[in-house]
């Protein structure tokens, strides 16, 4: 095997750490008290969450009529939010599963928090179809269970039902993948903590893990299997989400480009969210040696490539519309770029295609404030992409007599803010109580157990002394 220190790649962990340093540094934020900044952030996100709870409670009590929907625009804000949040989740699975299969070791710095992000984003996403049902207490009707109405079964030919299965499978598999990854780290925390609630909780959750190599051997096999399962799963989930649209006959939705277009967009938006969270977390939790500039650089390059795929898809959509010779299809795209919602369309193009081109410059990728700003811009752009796809395709359909306008109500905006509140509250709580970096993975991936000859000699002398 090549000496890891002679490799041209930058080191995964900077600051000349030993294995024990990794444990100490990553457990440190959990062991010191919460900072004022953390309390402040939690207060803000819990307030947003509370606003969302009130809004959701109100709209369930009064009905979906509190939204700005009408007979023509039957899907708007909530489905936009649903697709947005599912998309955010996909980067987490990309980082944890796809990059694992490709043996990209830099993923170890971000995979734990990206997986947590996936989990919370999918929870946020799930809320929207649930409240859109109007009577969410009957949500179990989407499951095929024997009932006294026949049994009347669910319609397995409907993409909306595929979505139920895809999203719930995705949530469960992501949760299991995340938890399996956490077990060895929970054992590390258990063995570091003195008697008390932290040790008791970690003791139960780490399932009696003792570091046995026989268990590690099976664990690695199962981790690989889960990565192998999660990879096609993540593609299937957003493919099915796109089929909610593509299998309809609405111009602007009924197109075969949707599955790859949606998957690329999902990963693009998710990477932007990972960067947003990571740039803040590395600073606040003092993890600069673990989430290094080179990690940010790698994610920027991934984000740029995904952004270019998304840009290509925007162009292809236009080309297909005009090449199809279908007047309705052509009208939808002209209407997108020049109609009443053109501001949303051009916001989308600017945020997703034009501004991310700055990432070609090394100096931009090296500047954390620039990357942070760009990630926010992409998040906004990707939200608008879903809004543009959904609302502009619906609001002017076949018959001009049924054309209508759409504007969200305060209830819908409050629900969106509430979902952000839920997401950030969950993420902040996760940062406080779980190791944000997979210790057991980074120790192995960064070759900390096999120090270079010089350092090793020093260690030996220190030991002898």
């Amino acid at each position: 095997m090549a000496d890891p220190n002679s490799s041209p790649r930058p080191p995964l962990v900077t600051g000349d750490k030993t294995i024990a340093d990794v444990t100490r540094d990553i457990c440190a934020p959990l062991e010191r008290g919460p900072t004022g900044l953390w309390w402040g952030a939690l207060a803000v996100s819990c307030s947003a969450l509370l606003l969302g709870v009130v809004a959701v409670g109100y709209q369930i009590a009064v009905g979906v009529g509190t939204w700005g929907l009408n007979k023509t625009v039957g899907w708007a804000f909530d489905i936009t939010n649903f697709v947005f949040w599912v998309g955010i989740g996909h980067a987490g699975t990309l980082i944890s599963a796809v990059l694992f299969l490709f043996r990209q070791k830099w993923r170890t710095a971000v995979n734990r928090s990206a997986e947590a992000m996936t989990l919370f984003a999918v929870v946020c996403a799930g809320i929207f179809p649930l409240i859109h049902m109007g009577r969410p207490w009957l949500a179990f009707w989407t499951l095929p269970y024997p009932n006294t109405r026949g049994s009347l079964w669910v319609n397995f030919k409907s993409p909306l039902l595929w979505d139920v299965f895809a999203i719930s499978t995705y949530l469960l598999i992501s949760a299991v993948f995340w938890y399996v990854g956490l077990i060895p780290d929970l054992a590390t925390i258990r063995d570091r903590s003195g008697p008390g609630w932290r040790r008791r909780i970690c003791s139960v959750l780490s399932l009696g893990w003792n570091g046995s190599a026989r268990t590690w051997h099976r664990y690695e096999t199962v981790y690989m299997l889960l990565a192998g399962l999660a990879t096609p799963l993540v593609f299937s989930v957003h493919t099915i989400v796109s089929m909610d649209f593509a299998t309809s006959v609405i111009p602007g939705w009924h197109t075969t480009i949707f599955p790859p277009y949606f998957v690329a967009g999902a990963i693009f938006s998710g990477l932007a969210m990972v960067l947003t969270l990571m740039i803040v977390a590395r600073k606040v939790m003092r993890l600069e040696d673990y989430i290094t500039h080179s990690h940010v650089d790698q994610m920027c390059k991934l984000m740029l490539s995904m952004g270019c795929i998304v840009g290509l898809a925007y162009g292809t959509e236009f080309f297909t519309a005009f090449y199809s010779g279908n007047g309705y299809e052509q009208f939808v795209f002209k209407n997108r770029a020049l109609g009443p919602f053109c501001w949303a369309y051009w916001t989308m193009v600017t945020c997703n295609v034009v501004i991310p081109q700055l990432l070609w410059f090394r100096s931009v990728r090296a500047s954390l404030p620039c990357v942070f700003a760009l990630a926010i811009v992409v998040n906004i752009g990707m939200w608008f992409e879903r809004f543009v796809i959904i609302v502009t395709s619906l609001h002017r359909d076949f018959l001009p007599s049924s054309w209508a306008d759409y504007a969200p109500t305060s209830i819908e905006i409050a629900t969106l803010l509430g979902s952000f509140g839920l997401f950030f509250s969950c993420f902040l709580i996760f940062c406080r109580f779980a190791p944000v970096i997979a210790m057991a993975e980074i120790k192995g991936a960064a070759h900390l157990g096999k120090p270079a000859a010089g350092r090793r000699e020093a260690h030996r002398q220190e030991h002898a002394a």
Partner: protein, 180 residues
Amino acid sequence: MNDRILLATFAHEDDLLAATAAVRAAGHPIVDVFTPYAVHGLDRAMGLRPSRLTWVCFVCGMVGAVGMLVFQHWTAAISWPLNVGGKPWNSLPAHVPVAFEAAVLLAGFGSVFALLWVSRLFPGRQARLVAPRVTDDRFVLAVDASGPGIDRATLERVVGQFDSLAIEEQTPRTGGKASC
């Protein structure tokens, strides 16, 4: 039952790997090795066979896919046939996505539960650690010393050249000092 176990502690994974291979080559039975992370190549050094959990995954996945295809066929074509847009009762392509999701769900849960089952990991199990730092930064090789031909001096001769930090003896029944 192992009466005596000798524990050799190391600070580096390559020392541990070399020592494990040497102990195995010398014919001494290895009880287990305890490491803070998955050390690559340790399965070969210990002579572990590839895990059969992949088969559990495959079988669970197949059960999920076939079971869900059959169930969809039964609900959509036999139990209560519903005409949806004039499509055939059993429109197989439309049944693929849900069957795929069921396959992934069962395969994932099946392999994780099988892992927990065969590794005897469950909530409430008390971890018995051979050394307190084994989940932090220490690598421990546990050798069965109950048979003839191996004692502390023999093991020291075999692993001594690999920088072992300490060699100590632990009997499983009395040596629960680090369990918690």
